[in-house]
Each structure stands twice: as C-alpha cells, then as structure tokens.
Symmetry: C2
Subunit: 167 residues, 2 copies
DNA sequence: TTGGAAAGTCAACAATACTGACGTAAATTG
DNA sequence: CAATTTACGTCAGTATTGTTGACTTTCCAA
C-alpha cells in the first residue's frame, strides 16, 4: 500500500510478500498459538501440571518407548528441565520408565493407563479445535497451512518433520 | 474412545480431517511456533529481555498511543505481569508513557527512537523467516495458512483479527 | 461529594527455563 | 583390562513470565 520497503515488486505478483502481509502472518501466529494451547491449558490447570507436562505426554504417546535423549532432542530443552517434569509424571504413575533392553543406560518411556487417559483428554480438546478450523477452512487451505508451517520450522527439526509427514 | 472417533468418512472426501492429520497439524504448530520465536529470542537474550518484552514492543509499535488497558486485552495477561515488563522498558527508555489527554488516568504508550530501533531488529528477523516460508510455499498456500490460523484463534480475539486483516 | 474506574505498586508464589557441578551405571574404546 | 564416553539423574542457584491478593493514588462522572 505505502512505501513498504523492498519486499514488494512493481507488479503485484509478489503482493503476498509485503511487510504488511508478513506482519499480519506474525500476529496470526501469535493469536493462533494462544488459541491452540488454551484448551489443554485449562484442563491442566486442575492437575498441578503445565504445558511442559503436556508436551512430554504428547510425544511419549506418539513414540512409545522413546528414550530420554530422543525426547530431549524433540523438545529442545535441557535434561534438568525435562527431568523435573518426567519425575513428577513417573511418580504420579502417568509415565512408565523402563531400563533399556539392549542398552541398560537408556530409559524407555511409556504412558501408563492413567497417562493414556489424560493424553486422550488433552489431545481430544486440541484435535477438536483443529478439526473445526480445518473444516471451516477446507482441504485446500489445510494443505497450504501445512506447507507454510513446514517452511517456518528450523532446518534442524526438518528430519523429524519429514518422518512425521510421510510415516 | 472410538477407534477412529468418527472424523473420517467412508470415502476420502474428508480425509484431511482424520485424527492422524489433525495430530500432524498439532505437531507442526508446535515446531513452527518454536521456529517462529527463535530468532527474536536469540536477539533478546543479549538484552535482559524476554518474549514478553518483545510482545509489548511489537504491539506498541503496531498501535502507537495504545492505552495500557487495550494492550492488556490484546496480550491476555494480568496488569501486574504487563506492568513489570512496561516498567523496565520505560526505565530503559524504549517506551514512552504519556498521560492521556482526554482521560488523564490513561497512559498512552509510544516507542522511543531506541525502542523503534530494537523493534526493527526483532521484526526484521521474524519477517525474514516468514518471507522465506511464504516464498517457498507460494501465495496459494499462504492464503490457506492464514485461513486456517484465523479459525484456530479464539472467538474473543476475532474482532481484533478482523480489523487486522481488513485495515 | 462520593463511588468507581484506571493505573500503579508491593508481596508472595508457581511453572518453566537456564547454567554448572556432581554422581552412578553401563557401554565403548584404546 | 583400564580409561573414557555416554545416558541418566540430581542438587543448587538464577531468570523470565505468569498468577492472586491487597493496597494506594488519581481522577472522571453521577
């Protein structure tokens, strides 16, 4: 519209790349992520747990038997930070930590029945919101949504994401 | 609790709504938001500031003269939490807080020259990542990206978002 | 003039993250 | 086999961001 510095072209073939469009995308990410986390947050606030617990539960459910190190790579936090969360979840009998079979230094993490129950509850709240949004936007929009998100992700995580998409 | 929880159909016309697709979308949101915030986080770690300071700076820049109350509505935090951040930014001469003209109880917030400089730095890092992602995904995908995000956002914020999109 | 809204402050607390240091057990390497 | 590395756990200290609750000051409006 105005003197938007440099990222626009003379024509409008790249109009979606104006700084204004980018700023709108940035704010949409901010507000959407808040909506995205709000339902699980509400559920967890009755449990002494927070978002970190949710993330641990989510990825242990997605990768049963995952090692602590592999989980650390996915979550991108320090082992001390993850350990605090895991310790609680193990003590509360939501996660089962078993000594590795081939390498006894490793711990393989699994959800217990209670852990699975909480995961279902959290996941369903989040999936419900996503389902509504997907339905309202339509399959074509969903494809674009995913394509843009994949490109926002750090290259470090691309390997994980590739497996996520394909497998 | 059902095996496939009913979100799929016999055909594949709604295949994009399977629980697996929804879970993939959920993980994409998680990883993308981390990428989205990583560049500003790096910059801020040298400044004694965090993400809360970035958000305040961002929205004061977007709405020069915004009142504290209006900013609270956008950020969705308590005034005590926001006040701690604002106090630092005002003390460090990044934000200027002026007594309201029509209502002297209100404070109108503006970025100082220093604040504008930091905002440019943070914004450019974030816009750069978005620009790359948009470019890689293409305008059609960007439209879908935005449409899905808009539908993930809480209805409470939709009024703000509508103005964001149109204006 | 009095009630209430807006803003700011102080205190206490909780969740999540970080760094650094240390210990134990098990696997790997020389 | 001895030394080193790896995996995991833990303790201590600190920072950021968020919460409640209580309180004061300012000042508009009924």
């Amino acid at each position: 519209m105005q003197d938007n510095s440099g990222s626009d072209t003379i024509g409008d073939s790249l109009l979606f790349l104006t700084d204004d469009q980018l700023l709108q995308g940035i704010e949409l990410m901010f507000f959407a992520y808040r909506g995205f986390t709000s339902d699980p947050d509400k559920i967890l606030s009755n449990h002494t747990y927070g978002r970190a617990h949710h993330r641990a539960i989510h990825f242990v459910n997605r990768h049963p038997g995952i090692t602590v190190n592999a989980l650390l790579d996915i979550l991108g936090v320090t082992k001390q930070s993850l350990n605090r969360v895991l310790r609680q979840l193990i003590k509360d009998n939501l996660i089962d930590s078993r000594v590795g079979k081939s390498d006894r230094r490793e711990r393989n993490l699994f959800l217990t029945a209670d852990g699975t129950a909480l995961e279902r509850q959290l996941s369903e709240a989040q999936r419900s919101r996503m389902r509504t949004a997907y339905k309202a936007a339509g399959p074509n929009a969903v494809q674009g949504f995913r394509r843009v998100l994949e490109n926002i992700i750090d290259p470090n995580m691309q390997s994980y994401v590739k497996k996520l998409i394909s497998g």
